[in-house]
Amino acid sequence: MAGQKDIDSISGIETTGHEWDGIKELNNPLPRWWLWIFWACVVWSVGYWIAYPAWPLITGYSKGLLGYSSRADVAAEVAAAKQDQAVFRAKLETASLEQIRTQSDLLEFALAGGRSAFNVNCSQCHGSGAQGFTGYPNLNDDEWLWGGSLADIRKTITHGVRNDEDEDARTSDMPAFLRDEILTQPEVADVAEFVLKLSGQDHDPDRAGRGAVVFAEQCEPCHGQDGGGDPEVGAPALNNALWLYAGDRDTIIETVSYSRRGVMPAWGRILDEVTVKQLAVYVHSLGGGQ
């Protein structure tokens, strides 16, 4: 520190005096233009502060003279994308669902828009893959409460199910057979046994035989003679492997005793017509469309 220069004996260059395991750092000077670039960067940054948003203030930030905003960029991009979409949306507005399904460019646009609208509006209940949950139908499979044609799906989405806001909403009322004292507890158990038989599950033949009589009296008008269901009244098929609320004995008894009343909003009042069409085509494409 007394100002003694430590000169490296091989290169003849002064060292910084720092040493690691016998290796010393040479104190080679930087080229002067390097310094200029440093100052140029400093000057540039000052210009940048003035031209672009830079400094946080107490409420907000310095806007910069150029008025640049990344939010405005996004808004412009969204507007441009909407403009591009407008062409297709105009076509979707006039095209029938069947035309959309069969024209590949319209189909592609409808499926993309439908998937997006589904994730925003429908996935909360039906799941992001439309796989459904207990009480919320799986839209991938081939059983439909209210019909699986394009027109049926569109109608269900537009008016919803059992809601007060739309008088055209899909509506049906299954009685709560036990609570409303239409059937006694043993009768309910018998008819549940018959439903197990209809869907090909293990059952008690005697009780199922008694249940068949009850079924013919109380259930057949909606669910059909062989339990095939009726989409006109939202009566599910009872003779297959799919269940909205599980197909075990206890759940069936519960359903018969207290009824089920799934609901869905009338999306026609929330979404525009083109989006509803896109949703209908998308749901129809998931695999169960008829």
Partner: protein, 494 residues
């Protein structure tokens, strides 16, 4: 540590401190001013070779985009084209898709290992002959020499006061430099669009802004790095001088001053004998031609780009004084060692290092060549739905959904039929077709396109023994019968 400092020494009545000012003016400079280098012109074998390399590399750079290559209607007819909007890279008969970016990766590996091999054999041959920085600096020097004269004239001009003649020379020089720089940037963009069309758009101000911006940026960098900064780029900015040390060994040939022959150096006068002295006459011809401003006689140093111009300079002097050429020559450290021990020098090209580099080159090159030759014009990618994993249908069967992507690399529309096997009773359906269970999904793919389809695969409930089954998709061109396959899995209930 002595906290009281050095002991004062008495000088007369008052003690004198043994101290030096830490920030003495002479010690203060942390920044080194640049000293201009004025390399002198030299003729010789290496200079000629460098002219040749310059002509070839510049020729390739400027002319390549203008080569035409017929690919049929609807396809670009430019031999080398990087088409970003269409996501295609054309190289003569090869057309690379983004999905085949590994060809580019392989090419970069080949270039990297090739550089290692050349460096381990011939030192920094890349730096000395073919690096764009070297080639363009050479080109800019030609202009400077033509306008301002050779070394001594340039030094005189630098020192002369500004007058009309000096200003005219300076303006002419920088104007031509800028033109060359603009031409460099201008040529670059032709690799990214149809060259003739873009050239016309460029001069009629109809080209896209990015074209002008690219030209401007490359003009600026070429002018700054090539014309103004020159050797500063190699010495201070380029990482290669630091990396090269790891590629070279004592057998690598590099530009070397043969100290065993040259020393002791001494000026030579006619009539003197060559006894008891070296061949170096200390004429500094090697220093005066050096574009890096170094003295090769100091030994290997990282500033040296091995441009070999000092070899030409020294050989010319040796011719004139009648001594053997090659006092400065391509030589290795090992040879210098051998000569010092009185043995003869030898060149060893085949060493473990070079053999390993060669083996890697052969391996990567072979893999790439095989991939290129067996490249199919049809490719499929199949993505299985994750949500839902599977769907149970009313009759108890199980269905999986797949996104089926077909890459049609041919220049014609083609129709394929998709089939699958692996599970008994497997049926296929295509979303969008009239019958989801027709089991013969035909797909038509437009020329040179990727198209995506939704494929539904259904199997009877009883045929699944496990939650996961291997299945194989087969895509068959209905005209040629050529197939492409993709292995995937089918998920069922646990």
């Amino acid at each position: 540590m002595n906290h009281q400092g050095p002991t004062p020494k008495p000088v007369g009545d008052i003690d004198r401190f043994d101290v030096k000012p830490v920030n003495k003016k002479g010690n203060r400079s942390l920044y080194k001013p640049r000293k201009r280098i004025h390399p002198k012109r030299i003729k010789g074998a290496f200079r000629n070779f460098k002219w040749l390399v310059m002509a070839v590399t510049l020729g390739i750079y400027y002319l390549t985009p203008w080569i035409r290559w017929d690919r049929g209607p609807g396809a670009p007819d430019q031999a080398v084209l990087i088409d970003f909007p269409a996501r295609r890279f054309y190289f003569f008969f090869i057309e690379i898709w983004p999905q085949e970016i590994y060809f580019i990766a392989g090419l970069l590996i080949l270039a990297g290992i090739g550089l290692f091999l050349v460096t381990s054999l011939f030192g920094r041959a890349w730096c000395g002959y073919s690096c764009p920085q070297t080639v363009w600096v050479d080109l800019f020097l030609v202009v400077e020499r033509a306008i301002e004269g050779d070394r001594s004239a340039r030094i005189r001009l630098d020192q002369a006061p500004m007058n009309a003649s000096k200003a005219a020379k300076r303006i002419a020089k920088h104007a031509i430099w800028l033109l060359i720089a603009a031409g460099t940037g201008g040529a670059w963009i032709f690799y990214y669009a149809d060259a003739p069309t873009l050239a016309i758009d460029l001069v009629t101000w109809k080209a896209p802004p990015v074209a002008y911006i690219t030209v401007a940026v490359l003009t600026f960098t070429t002018y700054t790095l090539g014309a103004l900064m020159r050797e500063q780029v190699c010495t201070y900015m380029c990482p290669w001088p630091r990396i090269q040390g790891a590629m070279m060994d004592e057998e690598s040939l590099t530009v070397t001053y043969r100290a065993d022959r040259g020393e002791p150096r001494k000026p030579f006068r006619k009539g003197e004998t060559w006894e008891n002295r070296g061949d170096c006459i200390d004429c500094n011809a090697c220093v005066v031609v050096c574009p890096m401003g170094i003295d090769i006689r100091d030994g290997q140093q990282f500033e040296c780009i091995t441009c070999s111009l000092c070899i030409d300079a020294c050989d010319e002097v040796m011719n004139r004084i009648g001594r053997p050429r090659g006092l400065i020559d391509y030589d290795s450290l090992a040879n210098a060692e051998r000569r010092a021990q009185g043995r003869t020098g030898a060149i060893r090209f085949f060493r473990l290092r070079t053999l390993i580099y060669l083996a890697i080159l052969a391996l990567v090159g072979g893999v790439m060549l095989t991939a290129l030759l067996t490249r199919s014009d049809t490719q499929i990618n199949v993505l299985r739905d994750r949500n839902p994993l599977f769907t149970r249908l009313s009759d108890g069967s199980v269905r999986n959904g797949y996104t089926f992507k077909v890459l049609n690399k041919a220049r014609a529309q083609r129709t394929f039929v998709i089939s699958a096997d692996g599970i008994d009773g497997i049926t296929l359906g295509l979303v969008g077709s009239d019958n989801l269970n027709d089991n013969t999904p035909y797909v038509t793919v437009k020329p040179d396109r990727v198209q995506s389809f939704r494929l539904l695969v259904t199997v009877p409930g009883g045929s699944l023994s496990d939650e996961s089954h291997d299945i194989r998709f087969i895509l068959e061109d209905i005209n040629t019968g050529k197939t492409a396959t993709y292995d995937s899995i089918f998920r069922g209930p646990e």
